[in-house]
């Protein structure tokens, strides 16, 4: 597969209360972003098990992003802070699996940040596109 043809597949876990709503707002505001992202709604960013991220990457996802509420905004008090802690663990696991650290990201997107959601997604897709396909693909 040549570099130009590579269209990355990105899995985005979005928390129901902030980021999924932010993704909806990007839609209602008709803000365009690349169609490479597949959103999975979770109730809280703190719900996403590190194994799930690694499994997604080893099963062929080119990138995984977890989106949650900004610190202090979590609907479940501090689930997002748990997610932040786990992200550190995920970074370590990536190394073990021989995956580039850029393939995983944690971002905060609030319900009012439709433009930010689109920006983040554009950025993720671009950076993964540059990085090339997952070695597990």
């Amino acid at each position: 597969m040549s570099e130009e043809e590579f269209e990355p597949t990105i899995i985005a876990f979005c928390c129901n209360w902030c980021s999924y709503a932010g993704a909806d707002l990007a839609g209602t505001s008709r803000i365009q972003y690349p169609p490479n992202v597949r959103n999975i709604r979770v109730m809280c960013s703190g719900m996403v098990h590190p194994n799930m991220v690694i499994e997604a990457l080893t099963k062929g996802a080119d990138g995984v992003i977890i989106c949650g509420c900004h610190p202090g905004d979590c609907h479940y008090i501090e689930g997002n802070l748990r997610a932040e802690k786990r992200a550190e663990a995920i970074d370590l696991m990536l190394e073990d699996f021989g995956l580039e650290p850029e393939r995983f990201r944690l971002e905060w997107v609030s319900a009012s940040e439709g433009p930010r959601f689109a920006e983040v997604m554009k950025d993720v897709v671009e950076s993964i596109r540059e990085l090339g396909p997952s070695p597990y693909r």
């Binding site: 999924y20 839609g27 365009q32 169609p35 999975i40 979770v42 109730m43 905004d73």
Partner: protein, 1079 residues
């Protein structure tokens, strides 16, 4: 019954029926043209030929006129029959090659072209019109005349018939779609137009008013129905209604209802454009109304959302909107409040359809005063929509293309004319003509304009106690304001009916739940077009076809609107017919529509949680509008992912709890006090917290109102009611320290002078108000002659005024890059103060420097009055703001006047600034405490701008007043009552549903490591030990009352020993895997 044989099958037929009817009831297709179920057979077209054995010999016969008889043997599909039918079709095609109906029939029979000499007749002589007129209408206005090749259909003696009633039956039945009534009738022919399509399409006399009508059944228009016009004729619809549901004898019924309160919301009527003859509505076909454009742009409209001119289908290149048609004029001295925004919306939508379309909006003031409106207006400006400040003089048609020339005078006084393809008149709201009759029957008063009379401080109250009003009946208003008032009117009514609450309600009954354990998944998939929102980008049929092929999917279909009432019925029917045990809807966002669909599946006997949604609109078609292929492929992926999860869904048990019935209201201004009274009057205990030592908020600084209302007396009354109400507990000089819990079970701590009070409550109403901008602009704070509108009001309230020259500057700190919103109050505050000054000292000069005068609704009248009294309004551009300087003793304001086209210098002795309304500094703190969102301007963000304007997305928390967005006193009261109304929908419940998707421990996997216990934010998990097979087994237990289903435990557990229902690891993993299976 008569026994006969058709194509070798034994068939029984009704006596007195024809062979054609017998064939059709046996399911055998036979082509016909001159046959009609309701009319006597005629045998003219000969398409229905069959072979009938007579005395052992097959003979070709027309089946429509051949009566059935015992033992008859019929062949409908022999070579000979087909040959003869094709021949007939060729003959018909040769006679009328232009008829779509005949071409279709011919094509169905395999005939593409006729070998005979082609004619171009517009009549096939089928006689349908003659028969329908004679047999059904009993008129006989058309008949055959002459013979042989001269034979034709027409009125007697070829003279237009005076007996023809122009009912249109002949035209509707004619396969040639001939405009017969025009040719036959001596009367003017007026087709019945579909009101819902704003007259762009026709309708019949029995019709379903619009697609989503509730109930979705047809009505008969007695004024045009031929049955009623002929005194008993026609009845054709009876022959077609298989349900036998048509009842011509239905009469109006009078019902007597015993009620304790009445809410009146009859709405408004649109201004009749035809009255504005200078704009040519009704005269030029390309001048259309805004409502017609709304239908043109609508996916369910006559052109399925394609922008085109109704008259010729041409896609316009240049479109113009003329604002204030029927508003802001001598006989309607009010602003309709909504037209600016809908014109901006139409322009943006039209440009979404046709990106090269040039849109021009001719307007006087852009009244984008609502929450988020200015940002939307700015988006249109940035998008290239052209805004021209002018009120056009007239519209004239030019040239053969029926284009239109708009003549107008621009701001500099120059006369201009411009050509457009399509002109839209933005029509205003008018009170309905029936208002007088309605008001008389209800015993309520109307104002001089014909709208319902209300009071500024009690906007939902009519002149008769117990009768409340909401919506545009009392003043033109938009959807959010209407919804707010509707909730407010409900709260006002419930205050009267509190004792009887719930006594006449029967709870919604659901069928018993079907047990699906052990069943293989049977998934039904419903893919929504959402009008054009999805369908114009995503290839919906392709997605359906794709879904159909996926494992376990037993049914897939597309719907124009999956959320419509009729689709809910369809979903229920499919669940029953196909024995579905999982349902997937691919449409918009589950955040708004999941509850609706879950309820639908529950109504069909499925557990609510056997439902999953794929978001192919907000997160697909709307964000990939220019990549239809990629969007379609993504939509397929999203559907596949939803199906993968649906396969693994499990039924969950419904849970509920009994809520606390008390309310916490934060803020003791007019909003908070009104909300508190609204709830306490309904019988609920209220805790009202105000951080200042006294009640009243901004209203303390309101001294007078334009129509002589007394704000001081109103405030005193509110404060008195709050302080004396037995069900309101007041916490003055107090702050909220913490709020814990969730809807129905909040626990809060209030601190008063260092003392903490713990309270429990079921709902929260946020009414914390807003502040006023602090600025140094225009020498504010540096020169004591520069003051705010609020300070100026206090000065005027003293009753004397020695000022000679007063300048007011509008939009100080509003509508700029930092605060891109309109503060809404200031234009009207300036007008109010200017009028007061003119009252105190008529010779004083008042100059109002403005950007747009946003005197919406009835405020327009005061704007007019101010100009009549000599108040001068001078517009300035935001790029060239007024300049203020101290010239010696003088205070000088300089501004560019766009009309005089020169710079004015005004020396004044008072400069009054209309300072922006700004959010409270502690908004973010409270937002964090309550876990509710704020918008980019830092005002609180409601759950939905139009549909849920006083709710937060988090259940049980509501907002009102300035904390929501800038608004005036009357609007604040309305919104406070709205919030009280909404809050009572929770407080009034004895049981509230609880989240069912909560954590569950898998004892077999749990080894009691207790990693999950500490992270749980709700302390819902405890470690247990019990004896199993003689050994001590450790495990974790969920407290279901405390768990909220966040799933932190699930992500912490190393052994898959705990999970959240409906978001289990295997369910989420299935989605991941489905996403990675390249479609």
């Amino acid at each position: 019954m008569i026994k006969m044989q058709i194509d070798g099958q034994e068939v029984s037929a009704q006596p007195d029926s024809t062979v054609l009817e017998a064939c059709r009831s046996a399911g055998i297709q036979i082509p016909t043209l001159c046959y009609h179920k309701s009319l006597s057979p005629y045998g003219a077209c000969r398409l229905c030929l069959v072979e009938i054995e007579e005395r052992g010999r097959p003979r070709i016969r027309a089946s429509c006129v051949y009566p059935v008889e015992e033992g008859l043997v019929v062949h409908t599909n022999t070579d000979k029959v087909r040959h003869h039918r094709r021949m007939m079709a060729e003959l018909l095609l040769a006679r009328c090659p232009g008829s779509a109906a005949i071409r279709q029939i011919a094509a169905d029979l395999g005939v593409e072209e006729a070998r005979f000499p082609q004619k171009d007749e517009d009549c096939i002589l089928c006689g349908l019109c003659v028969r329908v007129c004679e047999e059904k209408m009993g008129i006989g206005a058309v008949d055959f005349s002459a013979r042989g090749s001269e034979r034709k259909v027409g009125p007697a003696y070829d003279r237009k018939s005076p007996v023809c009633m122009a009912c249109g039956a002949c035209e509707s039945i004619c396969p040639m779609e001939k405009k017969l009534p025009e040719a036959v009738s001596s009367r003017a022919v007026r087709p019945s137009l579909a009101g819902f399509d704003a007259g762009l399409t026709r309708r019949s006399s029995i019709y379903i008013p619009f697609q989503q009508a509730v109930p979705n059944v047809p009505v008969i228009d007695r004024d045009t129905c031929a049955h009623f016009l002929t005194g008993g004729g026609c009845k054709t619809c009876l022959d077609f209604c298989e349900a036998g549901a048509i009842d011509f004898g239905q009469q109006d019924e009078q019902l007597a209802l015993d009620v304790g309160a009445v809410i009146v919301s009859p709405g408004f009527e649109l201004f009749d454009h035809a009255l504005r003859s200078e704009y040519g509505f009704g005269l030029y076909p390309n001048v259309i109304s805004s409502l017609q454009l709304e239908r043109v742009l609508s996916a369910s409209g006559p052109y399925r959302g394609h922008l085109q001119r109704p008259v010729d289908g041409k896609v316009p290149d240049r479109m113009a909107f003329i604002q204030c048609v029927g508003s802001r004029e001598a006989d309607a001295n009010f602003c309709s409040s909504v037209c600016c925004m809908y014109a901006v919306k139409h322009a943006l939508m039209a440009r979404e359809h046709c990106p090269d379309l040039a849109c021009t909006i001719f307007y006087m003031d852009m009244r984008a005063f609502g929450k988020g409106f200015d940002a939307y207006y700015q988006r249109a400006v940035d998008d290239g929509v052209r805004f021209v400040r002018a009120r056009p003089a007239n519209v004239q048609e030019v040239g053969e293309g029926k284009n239109l020339l708009i003549r107008y005078q621009d701001e500099s006084g120059e006369f201009r004319s411009e050509e457009f393809d399509l002109v839209i008149l933005s029509c205003g709201m008018r009170p309905s003509e029936d208002n007088g009759m309605l008001a008389e029957r209800l015993g309520i008063g109307l104002d001089e304009r014909g709208f319902c009379r209300t009071e500024a401080f009690d906007p939902m109250r009519t002149s008769r106690p117990g009768v409340f009003v909401c919506g545009a009946f009392s003043e033109p208003k938009d959807i959010p304001e209407t919804v707010i008032q509707a909730s407010g009117a409900a709260a006002k009514s419930m205050a009267l009916l509190a004792e009887a609450r719930g006594t006449m309600v029967s709870p919604k009954a659901y069928p018993p739940e079907r047990d699906v354990t052990g069943e293989e998944p049977r998934i039904g998939v419903f893919v929504c077009h959402c009008g054009r929102n999805i369908g114009s980008v995503v290839n919906v049929p392709e997605v359906v076809a794709y879904a159909e092929e996926l494992p376990d999917v037993v049914y897939a279909t597309d719907n124009l609107f999956t959320c419509s009432q009729d689709t809910q019925e369809l979903i229920k029917k499919v669940i029953a017919d196909e024995k579905l045990n999982r349902v997937v809807v691919a449409s918009c966002t589950p955040r708004t529509h999941e509850p609706l669909f879950r309820d639908t599946v529950r109504e069909a006997g499925l557990n609510r949680y056997l439902f999953e949604m794929a978001n192919i609109r907000d997160q697909c078609s709307w964000v990939h509008m220019h990549e239809p292929q990629a969007a379609t492929s993504k939509a397929k992926d999203l559907v596949r992912m939803a199906i993968a999860k649906a396969r693994l869904l499990e039924p969950l048990q419904e849970r509920s709890m009994s809520p606390n019935h008390e309310a916490l209201v934060i803020g003791g201004g007019v909003a908070g006090m009104s909300a508190a009274i609204g709830l306490a009057d309904q019988g609920f205990q209220v805790h009202l917290v105000e951080r200042e030592p006294e009640l009243g908020g901004h209203a303390r600084h309101v001294h007078f109102l334009p129509r002589g209302e007394e704000p001081k007396a109103f405030l005193a009354e509110r404060i008195d009611r709050v302080t004396s109400h037995p069900r309101i507990k007041l916490y003055l000089g107090s702050v909220l320290k913490s709020v814990e819990g969730f809807v129905g079970r909040f626990t809060s701590t209030i601190v008063t002078n260092g003392t903490q009070h713990g309270i429990e409550h079921g709902v929260v109403i946020v009414a914390t108000g807003a502040g006023m901008l602090e600025t140094e602009e225009y020498l504010y704070g540096k020169d004591e002659r520069v003051i705010s509108q609020v300070a100026f009001e206090s000065e005027l309230a003293a009753g004397e005024c020695e000022l000679d020259n007063v300048v007011m500057i509008q939009c100080v700190g509003s509508r700029d890059d930092e605060r891109p919103y309109c503060s809404r109050l200031c234009c009207n505050h300036a007008i109010r103060n200017a009028l007061k000054l003119k009252e105190l000292k008529p010779q004083a000069n008042v100059f109002v420097l403005y950007r747009d005068v946003r005197a919406y609704g009835f405020r327009e009248q005061l704007y007019t009055l101010a100009r009549e009294k000599g108040v001068r309004f001078i517009r300035y551009e935001p790029e060239r703001k007024p300049e203020v300087s101290q010239a010696g003793e003088k205070l000088r304001v300089e501004v560019d006047d766009p009309i005089l086209q020169s710079r004015l210098a005004i020396d004044c002795d008072r400069l009054v600034l209309s300072l922006a309304v700004v959010p409270r500094e502690d908004t973010e703190n409270l937002a964090k405490m309550l876990k509710v969102p704020i918008n980019q301007e830092k005002f609180y963000l409601e759950a939905h701008m139009k549909l849920r304007p006083v709710d937060f997305a988090s259940e049980g928390i509501f907002l009102c007043g300035l904390a929501h967005s800038p608004k005036d006193l009357s609007e604040t009261v309305a919104q406070a009552m709205g919030a009280a109304g909404r809050a009572s929908t929770i407080l009034a419940n004895e049981e509230l549903p609880l989240e069912s998707a909560i954590s569950e421990v898998v004892d077999a996997n749990c080894d009691g490591c207790a990693y999950c216990i500490d992270p749980c934010p709700y302390d819902a998990l405890t470690l247990l030990e019990y004896k199993r097979k003689g050994e001590i087994k450790k495990t974790v237990q969920t407290n279901e009352a405390l768990c909220k289903g966040c799933g932190v435990c699930q992500a912490t557990c190393p052994k898959q020993g705990i999970f959240v229902r409906s978001f289990k690891l295997d369910q989420l993993n299935a989605m991941v895997e489905a996403a990675l299976e390249m479609g």
